[in-house]
Point group: C2
Chain length 74, copies 2
DNA sequence: TATTAGTGTAACATATAAATTACATAAAGG
DNA sequence: CCTTTATGTAATTTATATGTTACACTAATA
């Protein structure tokens, strides 16, 4: 579950704790998400996007890994 | 938690059951998500996007409602 | 030193996503 | 009619996201 939360967070100059407070979770949750060690809820993803001023695609999109017949995606 | 899953699903001509099988959940889970009655995991959102050939932003993005001056959200 | 800020992580508890089973309705087709 | 398909939903269980508390380490700084 890799993502760009850490990059996006640093770009808006927030610590894990500050981001956590902004989106209403604990610092540990942000840490685990950044490390890719789990699978946040859509609601939390959206809150993070709002906090770092990016969209879901920018922060959380992951290309489908090969092994799936790809019908091209934009 | 509104979204465009139903529209996207119909556009690619899948039933709830077919979509559920494709993404590896039950029909009930798809039904509840379409009804906006809960808050799927990022992983499931991505699977749904792959299945309907759209991106997270296209299916799950919700604009921040006004009061967006990053004070208290929630 | 030592003290603080920022981060990683582990154990346990709680909240909730998701599965399972079941029943209901409506529509389409035999 | 009857059966099947598609869908909504409720109750209960299971899996896991998230909270809480705690301890660790590094880097900077007094």
């Amino acid at each position: 579950m890799n993502n760009h939360v850490k990059i996006a967070r640093v770009q808006v100059d927030l610590t894990q704790k500050q981001l956590a407070d902004k989106v209403g979770v604990t610092r540990q949750t942000i840490s685990l998400i950044e490390k890719g060690n789990y699978n946040p809820s859509l609601k939390l993803c959206l809150e993070i996007c709002y906090a770092v001023n990016k969209t879901l695609d920018e922060v959380f999109w992951i290309e489908r890994e090969s092994g799936h017949h790809e019908k091209n995606k934009r």
